[in-house]
Symmetry: C2
Subunit: 476 residues, 2 copies
């Protein structure tokens, strides 16, 4: 076995896209299967998803939601019930036509999203205002037949959660839509160390069948935006199409108001890009499957392995996810390996450290080396973990601020997009101007941010009176 | 709104199968979708599955396993690589032939099980004994196109976990196969209150492609057996078919030994049948989504609701999953509802209880009513929860013992199967005798139990020398 870990990956500045796929593969987050667009979530990548699930599932339950599981197939006739919805999804459908060797009369579409399944069920179980709200969520995978795919960012199958709720009133449904957007935003701030921009999608960019779509938008270091989660207010459109009615408090039959909301394994892609560097992954400590790795130095020397195991035990007892690598690989190999895997803290101990009563702690995010007294190790780790999270969040937030450029005309728009990041503009509200930006720059409207402090009074495209602040960016 | 809960369900003795589906529907565990065989796991049913997942996932991780996620589709050519395997699964396949509006050249089978996907991946990532063992598990749903379906017991789609492991030696793989069978058996004993019989499957009954299949078998109150989980030792058969090789400690290339193992939402069916009664579900306390329900009596009277909320708070703080029903339904309606839902303990409090400083606790499994002092409520619940679990396990175990009949000839075999339960017999080891039993009685060999104390010296079918103790039963 070679004793040198060849972790050579493409440098970000040479080819960001290639850097990204190199990290996905070499950090062992995923692998390709033989069916194009369908990836394998390897243990290290799946463990990140489990940590995201753990955070969100807890938050969903605290906000009154219940988990369910709907079928993975939708009959063609069912998917067609809501007109805008089928138009949006028809081009991406994977369709099963044979079951048990026989042709299927009403072919089955592998779920691209489950609004229609939830509606069919709600129609059966909701009849009174007493049955509302219905606050359901499901964890599953969905299939959208994609032509060009990239690990975690766009795939023919991806893991996600989809919340689907029904409410008595419009106000309650709208509150739900915004509340779940907050939960997603909290997840970015508390777990992923990613600052999201919250906002509303333009009509052109909203979900097929939604009255309004809200999103959390992240900014990648190549200057592109990444839509990272969405919540939708449907009004009563689906309810009408599916005949969902309830007897209201006034005794009259009426349609409930509906929402849906979801985030996916795309969040893993956001983590990789926002935080990673030329040595590989850099994982925010609370989402990292392994938070600390202990590496014995000159481990053949007497006393080193036992001392390293003591450190491991102390760190584990302090409640951290910790690993010790006692394999016969060289320390250099191990350093490269765990840097590639983005483990937030590396603890080293060798004969000289033992002699001096020290341990060495290395921060993955900054490379900083810290020597502490053996007995202070755990309290230092207690201090470093939140500190690293904060540093990573703040670094990402600075990048976001530095790459959000106010623009007042088309030249500034071009310059801002060339620099990378968001072009913050005023907008007249007409889709023609939105289309024009795309035509001129390939950038799309990311959102109408909740922060709506006007920066001008006219639309930089048509010159007409501006109505809204809008963010444009090139996007994944 | 009607104030009387009509929980009328078919009585077990009138029609056990109808009782079962009545409970599935009325306890709101599931609903049917419009696609035959694909059910909806409603919140109450799904919460039971989450509790099972929680128990097993912890045990899997403690025994060194890692979670992964494989694609939900398998190309036809990949599924065909192992001959016995495709023969076993071909008749049940759901096949996708259209993607994004275009025909798919190598049609995609929705996974009926994932051995072939794991093998394809293992072939790429395993090359040395240092890469072994691989101890992977995945939580997902699988699709098997079934003609006759029953909720949780047999469906076209069901939720499960599938472990897939690769080992350096035969011994290690065989140990894994038996170890995971123990984990499943523990789950029955600790969580589901179901005594399983552990044993090996006959060659006729083993999994498509396995050298040996082991199972946990449960006995239902209608006298039928229910295979509740299986573990398989594959030898090197799949590894050879998929070209998985590793360099051994001796430097030579060799094939690893493989296992797989799984349990599914069928366990929910086992819980329903083993413990349920004519009033509905009876849930074992550790798997119950709600362990205690608090019901205020004459709640319009002053002081009742506040007193009930105090009880709720105390029970919650003691660590139980508890619900309070303050709705304007009558107590009678609520009693019927929560009996149907099988909640292990009901706590009642009314004006007279408050006056006397008492609360009333009712055990779902026996109907027993217990009056305790208010201040002793939590310690009583602490005592009752494990007691109920024990009573339920012991009741099921007694049923198993009383319905395991030793038989020495065909008449006794018929009588034992007519009575219901297992016919415990000696067996010559020939499939012809196994076939003969099926032909005569419709019963199948459930397993060769690990407990192999001989009860005779000859096979009751052919009269030849007996080799093994075998259990026959009619089965789901």
């Amino acid at each position: 076995m070679a004793d040198i870990k060849n972790n050579a990956i493409t440098r970000q500045e040479d080819d960001f896209a290639q850097w990204y796929t190199d990290v996905c593969r070499k950090a062992e987050l995923m692998d390709y299967s033989s069916v194009k667009g369908f990836i394998i979530y390897r243990p290290y990548g799946y463990a990140i998803w489990e940590n995201i699930q753990h955070y969100l599932d807890k938050r969903f339950k605290e906000t009154g939601h219940e988990n369910v599981y709907m079928p993975m197939v939708i009959s063609t006739s069912l998917l067609q019930k809501e007109k805008d919805h089928i138009e949006g999804f028809a081009p991406e459908c994977l369709v099963a036509t044979i079951g048990g060797g026989q042709p299927i009369e009403d072919p089955l579409i592998i779920r691209p999203t489950s609004e229609t399944l939830f509606c069919e069920h709600y129609q059966k179980i909701v009849s009174s205002y007493r049955d509302l709200p219905k606050l359901y969520n499901q964890w599953c995978s969905v299939v959208r037949w994609e032509k060009t795919t990239r690990p975690f960012l766009r795939g023919s199958e991806f893991l996600w959660q989809e919340g689907h709720t029904l409410h008595e009133t419009e106000e309650e449904a709208r509150t739900e839509t915004l509340k779940m957007l907050e939960v997603y935003d909290d997840c970015g701030r508390d777990l992923l160390a990613i600052p999201f921009v919250k906002g509303r999608k333009t009509d052109k960019e909203k979900f097929a069948g939604a009255m309004e779509t809200y999103s959390i938008e992240a900014l990648m270091p190549d200057g592109k935006g990444l839509q990272s989660g969405t919540t939708h207010y449907f009004g009563t459109g689906f309810a009408k199409a599916f005949g969902i009615q309830f007897q209201g408090r006034d005794g009259k039959l009426t349609n409930p108001h509906q929402t849906s909301w979801g985030v996916s394994t795309r969040l893993i892609g956001a983590i990789i890009m926002v935080h990673g560097d030329d040595n590989g992954l850099v994982l925010p400590p609370y989402v990292a499957p392994i938070q600390v790795v202990v590496i014995p130095i000159a481990q053949q020397k007497p006393g080193v392995i036992p001392a390293a195991r003591e450190l491991y035990k102390d760190i584990q007892e302090a409640g951290y996810r910790v690993k010790i690598d006692e394999s016969d690989k060289t320390p250099g190999w191990k350093f490269a390996e765990y840097e590639m895997k983005g483990i937030p803290l590396r603890v080293e101990i060798g004969p000289r450290d033992i002699e001096n009563g020290n341990v060495t702690i290395v921060k993955r995010n900054t490379g900083e080396k810290i020597t502490v007294k053996r007995e202070e190790m755990v309290s230092k780790i207690n201090e470093l973990i939140p500190q690293i999270h904060k540093e990573m969040y703040e670094r990402a937030y600075r990048y976001l601020l530095e790459h959000t450029t106010e623009i007042h005309n088309i030249d500034e728009l071009n310059a801002a997009l060339d620099k990378g990041g968001y072009a913050k503009a005023m907008w007249c509200g007409e889709q023609t101007c939105e289309d024009k930006v795309k035509e001129l720059t390939t950038a799309t409207a990311r959102c109408l941010p909740f922060n709506q402090i006007a920066i001008d009074d006219k639309c930089p495209i048509c010159g007409k009176k501006a109505k809204k602040v809008i963010l444009f960016a090139k996007a994944y």
